[in-house]
């Protein structure tokens, strides 16, 4: 591995981490969603700084080609993240369903209140007219 490759690896991993942390800092990403990306970024950084670490762990797990461990780990991580997103989406859909139902029910209540109010003001107008009529009649 050339020095250029070595440096490129470290820079790429560091940039990934910085991006995730920056998003977190600006509250564009919530901690619970960011945790997997931070783990991935840290892992990538460690391996880019100490490439022999990957080889050591891979041989421990019986991988003949170390890079296969990196591919395997990345796949598992991406799979878990995708699954988590599906679960979160389901939850968000259920929330929006409950809100939609609530909005429909509130709309009914507003209409009823408005109808009552119009009836109420119509009644008071009638009352005023009746009193006017009464005063006129008395005159």
């Amino acid at each position: 591995m050339s020095t250029l490759q070595y440096v490129l690896g470290i820079v790429a991993a560091a940039l990934t981490l910085i991006l995730v942390i920056e998003l977190l800092r600006r509250r564009r990403l919530r901690e619970r969603h960011a945790i997997w990306w931070i783990i991935a970024g840290l892992g990538a950084l460690v391996i880019s700084i100490f490439p022999q670490a990957l080889g050591w762990v891979a041989s421990r797990f019986g991988f003949d080609v170390p890079i296969n461990l990196a591919f395997f780990a990345s796949l598992v991580l991406l799979f878990l993240v995708a699954l988590q997103h599906s679960a979160e989406l389901t939850k968000a859909e259920e929330h929006s369903r409950a809100l939609a139902e609530q909005v429909a029910l509130l709309d009914i209540r507003i209409r009823e209140l408005e109808a009552q109010q119009t009836r109420g003001s119509a009644a008071s107008v009638r009352k005023v007219k009746n009193t006017e009529k009464g005063t006129r009649q008395r005159k």
């Binding site: 369903r97 939609a100 139902e101 909005v103 429909a104 029910l105």
Partner: protein, 245 residues
């Protein structure tokens, strides 16, 4: 047979039914004096809401389409909030005869959930092939779960008593087939008493079941998936829910 309908609410899920909903509401109000009708407009783009209001129904307007399950849960929640004891689901397309509502409500005296099932023959449509097998298998499995003989499990003409209304206001599934198949499983597993009553269905104003074999097979698969997960989900009991509230 005088049956008090003042504590019963008809819930009608409606999606772009401006052509039929007004007629159905007027007929129901004529046949069932004193009953209240809630039309749940499931994100229609036509004049369904206005037509339904003009015909004398209360209208709940969902901001976007939730499917029959979502529309029905909204109806059950309305019933709970306003103290209705029974909810009768009636289709807005006119295939259910409102004159048969009292028959369903009468059954609620001894049952929690009453399914209005199509008689063979009258107004019935011929179903063949995989779709029919699916319906037969479905009926067999659900009959066993519900501890009663059910032949028309996908019927949308059904009446729910107080216990079923309380259960469904919280747990009415929105998934495909959830409003028919899964809701039955939920009710049966919550130990509600389910019964079937024969009713005559009229000609649907629109839409006939497809005989395309690919679609039928797909339907079969979706039924299988819906059933499997309905049974895999944790049981919900009515009493437990009442304790919590």
């Amino acid at each position: 047979m005088p049956i008090d309908l003042s504590t019963s609410l008809i819930v009608m899920p409606a999606l772009n039914e401006e052509a039929s909903v007004g007629k159905v509401i007027r007929e129901a109000l004529r046949e069932l004096p004193g009953i209240r009708i809630l039309v749940v407009n499931d994100g229609s783009t036509d004049e369904t809401s206005r037509v339904a209001r003009d015909a004398g129904a209360i209208v709940a307007e969902l901001p976007y389409n939730l499917g029959v399950g979502g529309a029905m849960r909204c109806g059950f929640r309305f019933a709970v909030e306003h103290g209705y004891r029974n909810v009768i689901q009636v289709d807005a397309d006119g295939q259910h005869d409102p004159a048969e509502v009292p028959q369903l409500v009468a059954e609620l005296a001894t049952a929690d959930l009453v399914i209005g099932a199509r008689f063979a023959g009258q107004g019935d449509y011929a179903v063949r092939g995989p779709r029919r097998w699916a319906m037969v298998v479905l009926a067999k499995i659900l009959s066993r779960t519900a501890r009663t003989k059910l032949t028309d499990t996908t019927s949308g003409f059904r009446a729910s008593g107080p216990r079923a209304v309380a259960l469904f206001a919280e747990h009415y599934p929105a998934e495909y087939l959830g409003d028919t198949v899964e809701s039955l499983v939920i009710a049966a597993r919550a130990k509600l008493v389910i019964r079937q009553v024969g009713v005559s269905m009229r000609e649907r104003s629109a839409g006939t079941p497809s005989h395309n074999p690919v679609k039928a097979a797909l339907y079969l698969a979706r039924v299988a998936v819906a059933m499997t997960f309905a049974f895999l989900r944790p049981k919900i009991s009515v009493t437990q829910r009442e304790d919590n509230s």
